[in-house]
């Protein structure tokens, strides 16, 4: 087992553990903080795949900006155990059954996807995630979706103003 593999397993375990903690934490602030840990672990994976740019962007945008926003919203909403709505038992049961079915599908998927067993991730060799290649790809093959995204952002901005403007 070389260093990369050790790092990979460590980061995966960290990501999974943090993700479970997001779900089972009673305090919403703790959930958000565990989510930050998930994002850092995933950024670590990106670095292992030699995609430094993605790793940094993931950290700045997700762990930084979006999580700060989440934290503010959670704090402003003043959630605590008293205001939490009581879900009835059947609802919980239905959730467990459907979630369990979904988990089963995914477990059997990973076990039966034999075509994936031989494939290995390109750790520290691939260079597609470097900013130079990413930029080239974005402005050649994927220039149309890149430009069309601007329509999406524009409509979201107009929407934010329409909703938020004082009347």
């Amino acid at each position: 087992m070389n260093t990369t593999e050790i790092l990979f397993f460590f980061l995966s375990a960290l990501a999974l553990f943090s993700a479970i903690m997001v779900l089972i934490s009673k305090n919403p602030i703790h959930s958000v903080l565990w989510l930050v840990a998930v994002f850092f672990a995933i950024s670590g994976h990106y670095i292992l795949l030699n995609a430094q740019f993605l790793a940094i962007v993931n950290m700045i945008v997700y762990a930084g900006a979006i999580m700060v926003l989440f934290l503010f919203v959670v704090m402003l909403m003043n959630l605590n155990s008293e205001t939490e709505p009581q879900k009835n038992l059947w609802m919980k049961l239905a959730g467990v059954i459907s979630g369990g079915c979904f988990l089963m599908v995914f477990v059997s998927l990973v076990r039966q996807a034999t075509d994936l067993h031989a494939k290995k991730a390109m750790t520290s060799t691939g260079d597609i995630g470097l900013i130079k290649n990413l930029g080239k790809l974005l402005f050649s093959d994927y220039v149309v979706p890149f430009e069309i995204t601007s329509v999406l952002f524009l409509s979201a901005m107009i929407g934010a103003i329409v909703i938020g403007k004082k009347e």
Partner: protein, 462 residues
């Protein structure tokens, strides 16, 4: 490409015109003019003339089928703006922005009719949905509108998450965003030889698309959102946007359904039956006409799913006809509904006496929705069912559909009954002569397509 570029530009024009022109009533005319420009640009494309030549790197693929659907969507929007433009202006204080958002929705629609990869599908669906979340909440003083908007946003983002998960799995399985995987190799047992990741991803995509077109059991948001949103925007949501969702659904699974083997038909027939059942049976019990129309739109979604089930050329013609018939009729009914003071069934009592023209047009629209012969709705339903019969192997599902169509007649006719055979004084807001003429034209168009569906479909082959 023309329609995508022009609709995005028109959205920007509308947005800026809100600053330049202070006159609010001008916006409606500006939007109508913009839609005509968009229509011309789209028609030019069907004759091979481009505004700008763009190399899309095979991410978008334009064909007559999609361009013709664009035409239907743009014409439906034009009729919608002409009939209900005044009510859009009265909804809130930002009419220019609302029209801009309508144009952005159209931009999303035109992407969805030409996408050639999952990446563009995702962008199209989002460009179509995000403006709708805002239009749903346009009536800011109304608590129900706020609730509907938030509900739609939360549920919509959740379904987007499912869609992204599906796309990620498909990418993991096949290594590309393409939607034309080709015919898969078959194993001995007749099971297609594809990665399990692809199949799981397709199922997730199926779920999220079902959500977008409000097929049961993913329909729970529909009644609340359609009911809470300002009626003018419900009209738009239930027609153009929904039809575009179906078009994308069909385009996506046209070539991919083979990958899922026999599972596909079982899954789809379950969804179709559930949708027809939930939509029709729940609509029967509604007292509010607006809520009844929300459930009826779920029921109509069940019929449109037949196009997916059949997946042949007849189904393609059928979905075009259905989109046109359903959009026209629903826009007509909603245009009248907006003018009503009281949205309950009792509010329609005696409309035939106070406003005979409105009652007549509404009747024709409702007849079309229930699929009575001589209206467009009849041929729309006929093509759908004929496509399934032609595809073969599932006569029982056609019989079930016909039974549910009969159920739908009951709740549509209750409105007609209220208008013609019940005493009362239905109150409406001020009706202009132009509105009546427009409504009669819509009704006339429905009857014309009902008499000669080839008027619409022949055009498709030019």
């Amino acid at each position: 490409m023309n329609a995508i570029i022009v609709s995005a530009l028109m959205g920007v024009v509308m947005m800026l015109s809100g600053i330049i022109f202070q006159n609010k009533s001008l916006m409606k005319h500006l939007a109508a003019a913009g839609l005509i420009v968009l229509l011309v640009a789209n028609l030019l494309q069907s004759y091979g003339k481009y505004v700008i030549q763009v190399d899309t790197h095979n991410l978008l693929h334009f064909e007559q089928f999609g361009i013709f659907f664009n035409t239907i969507a743009i014409v439906a929007t034009l009729i919608y703006v002409l009939l209900s433009g005044k009510d859009i202006e009265n909804t809130g204080v930002h009419p220019a922005e609302y029209f801009a958002l309508v144009f952005f929705v159209l931009c999303g629609v035109t992407i969805l009719t030409s996408f050639n990869g999952l990446l563009m599908l995702f962008l199209g669906v989002e460009i179509m949905s995000i403006p709708l979340y805002i239009l749903t909440g346009a009536d800011k003083k109304n608590l129900k509108s706020n609730e509907a908007s938030l509900k739609y946003l939360l549920m919509g983002s959740f379904s987007t998450g499912i869609m992204l998960m599906g796309i990620a799995l498909i990418y993991g399985g096949s290594g590309s965003f393409g939607i034309n995987p080709g015919t898969p190799e078959m194993t001995v047992g007749g099971i297609p030889k594809v990665s399990f990741l692809t199949v799981a991803g397709l199922i997730l995509l199926f779920v999220s698309m079902c959500f977008k077109v409000s097929a049961a059991p993913f329909h729970f948001w529909t009644p609340d959102v359609y009911d809470g949103a300002p009626s003018v925007f419900t009209s738009f949501m239930a027609t153009v946007v929904k039809a575009a969702g179906f078009f994308a659904f069909m385009r996506l699974f046209e070539s991919q359904s083979d990958l899922m083997g026999a599972t596909w038909k079982i899954l789809l027939s379950f969804v179709i039956i559930a949708t027809l059942l939930v939509g029709n049976i729940t609509a029967v019990f509604q007292q509010s006409v607006k809520r009844m129309l929300a459930y009826s739109s779920i029921a109509q979604a069940g019929f449109m799913l037949f196009a997916l089930y059949a997946g042949n050329d007849l189904a393609k013609e059928g979905i075009l006809l259905y989109a046109a018939a359903y959009s026209l009729a629903t826009i007509g009914v909603f245009a009248v509904l907006i003018k009503m003071k009281d949205y309950t069934l009792d509010g329609f009592n005696g409309l035939a006496k106070t406003q005979p023209v409105l009652a007549l047009a509404t009747t024709i629209c409702l007849l079309s929705l229930s699929g009575i012969p001589l209206t467009a709705g009849f041929f729309a339903k006929y093509y759908m069912l004929a496509a399934v019969v032609k595809a073969g192997g599932a006569l029982w599902i056609v019989i079930v559909a016909v039974l549910f169509a009969a159920v739908s007649v009951y709740y549509y006719f209750r409105v007609i009954q209220a208008m013609y055979f019940k005493d009362g004084a239905a109150e409406t807001s001020e009706i202009t002569g132009g509105f009546k003429i427009g409504l009669l034209l819509v009704a006339g168009l429905i009857v014309l397509i009902g008499l000669l569906p080839s008027v619409l479909l022949n055009y498709f082959y030019f």
